[in-house]
């Protein structure tokens, strides 16, 4: 699976939101998308999901255009969006129910590996915010689609839970082969998680810069305290603040 965003543009009424946006997500790659609020990141996700159609450009997955076609990606929103009347196991199976056949054994196995064994039969209301996001991620990961789109999944969590979650996410994801496109406002988060960061500018949003992050995997949170990491952080900060 590879995803190519090709010269995509979109306006709402007469406000130009995205302009000439191009980048790629390779097979098994973790790509972060950062940019100011209102720059059109979620709109871009809507296009990949096929529920918003761009004014110009194309979106190509594995050499085929998926413009206005639904069901080619798996999605994890900011709010966990778990269904309150379903147990954790039933929730995790929802993505599969929509797009393919249900593999209950695989789901149970995955929940066990992800450290959610004790809550398999619990309802979402019984879980903490961090736990719910874990379940939400497993639900996305369990889908057969090879692209996971995560829209600020951790922004509602406190700092402690967030760092835990970042590491858990990496550990869990590294066992599987899907590509991830990840929206965040947090530069450290983007640096720690990604192979590649796409920086969007203020409106109308264009791609300011695409930077490859060289840190080896598997990654450890201690990485965030190294000089190397801080150097990269400074670099990204400068890029974000620079005028076009």
């Amino acid at each position: 699976m590879s995803l190519v965003i090709k010269k995509v543009g979109k306006s709402f009424e007469d406000k130009i939101v995205l302009k000439d946006v191009s980048f790629e997500v390779g097979k098994g790659e973790f790509v972060s998308l950062i940019g100011p609020s209102g720059s059109g990141k979620s709109t871009l996700f809507g296009m990949i999901g096929g529920i918003i159609s761009p004014d110009e450009g194309d979106i190509i997955m594995s050499n085929q255009s998926i413009l206005n076609k639904r069901g080619h990606m798996s999605y994890m929103p900011q709010q966990d969006s778990l269904f309150p009347w379903r147990t954790v196991l039933e929730n995790v199976l929802l993505g599969q129910e929509i797009s393919s056949e249900v593999t209950k054994d695989k789901a149970i196995q995955m929940l066990q590996i992800a450290g959610l064994k004790d809550v398999i039969n619990a309802y979402p209301a019984e879980l903490s915010g961090g736990m719910r996001q874990r379940v939400s991620f497993i639900r996305a990961l369990l889908c057969p689609q090879n692209l996971l789109c995560l829209d600020e999944p951790f922004s509602a969590l406190d700092e402690f839970t967030r760092i835990d979650m970042q590491q858990w996410l990496l550990e869990t994801w590294e066992k599987y082969e899907q590509s991830i496109l990840f929206i965040t406002h947090n530069i450290e988060e983007a640096l720690f998680l990604s192979d590649k960061i796409v920086i969007l500018s203020h409106s109308p949003a264009v791609v300011k810069e695409v930077i490859e992050i060289p840190f080896a995997r598997p990654r450890d949170p201690a990485l965030m305290l190294t000089d190397e990491f801080l150097k990269w952080k400074r670099k990204v900060m400068n890029l974000i603040q620079s005028k076009n």
Binding site: G49, I51, R70, F83, P84, R86, I98, S99, A125
Partner: protein, 254 residues
């Protein structure tokens, strides 16, 4: 049962108080029995008349259960149709409300003219009383689906029928049950009223006979049994609701 007593003791005491005052008032003012019988008289009559009354009760029970099932099915399907086809809703929603403005007393004789004295006019009356609360609450339940969840389903590529069956319908279950509870009590009332149209058996028939022979205490027996029947119906629906919404008991499992 213990919980019922715990929550309902205020009502139980109130009822007992009213009964005692009633009994005393009848004795003090020595009211004629055919005008207003004392509670004690009603209760002794209840046991006396029970073997006679029982077949009537069964018939009404059957009628209201069947009527309720027909009415709820129609109400649910109607709400679903109006929800899925927005154009239909704009056209027919006013009719839904108008249907509640038809006075049953006027309609009943017409129904007899059209359909005779069989069961059909009775079911029509119960249905008219039942379907409305269910249709209205189901419709509002279906319309108030969490937007985030709908958006999630769309982003995942779910089609309209998946969104309905997996999200909108289960999300509307609490609303549907609040409609069912109202309809359950209406259905018993409507069954009794429909029996006034003419029937061989039923609490309504029993009532008419009691009234015409000035057996006021028998009328009260019928009223009490009707009330108990309504309450029982209501409790059954309540129980089903509990069964269907176990997930709402937050944090109960951990």
């Amino acid at each position: 049962m213990m919980r019922f007593i715990k929550q309902g003791w205020r009502s139980i005491i109130a009822i007992l108080l009213i009964l005692i005052l009633w009994e005393m008032a009848i004795n003090i003012f020595s009211v004629e029995e055919w005008l207003l019988p004392a509670p004690s008289v009603i209760f002794t009559d209840l046991f006396k008349v029970w073997p006679n009354f029982y077949p009537h009760l069964l018939s009404t029970l059957l009628l209201s259960i069947l009527g309720f099932i027909i009415g709820s099915t129609i109400g649910l399907s109607l709400a679903t149709l109006l929800h899925l086809f927005k154009g239909l809703k704009k056209t027919f929603y006013p009719f839904l409300i108008l249907s509640q403005n038809i006075p049953i007393i006027v309609l009943a004789p017409l129904l007899v003219i059209w359909f005779g004295f069989g069961t059909i006019p009775k079911f029509i009356i119960i249905t008219i009383a039942c379907f409305f609360p269910i249709a209205v609450s189901t419709l509002s339940g279906l319309q108030q689906t969490n937007r985030d969840l709908v958006f999630y389903m769309q982003m995942m590529g779910a089609n309209k029928s998946q969104i309905f069956w997996k999200l909108e319908l289960p999300d509307a279950v609490p609303a549907i049950f609040s409609g069912l509870k109202i309809a359950a009590t209406y259905s018993v009332m409507a069954a009794v009223v429909s029996e006034w149209l003419g029937a061989q058996k039923g609490i309504g028939v029993f009532m008419t006979m009691a009234t015409s022979s000035y057996k006021t205490s028998h009328v009260f027996v019928a009223i009490i049994i009707t009330m108990i029947l309504s309450l029982t119906f209501f409790s059954v629906i309540l129980l089903l609701e509990k069964l269907f919404s176990r997930w709402q008991k937050k944090g109960a499992r951990l």
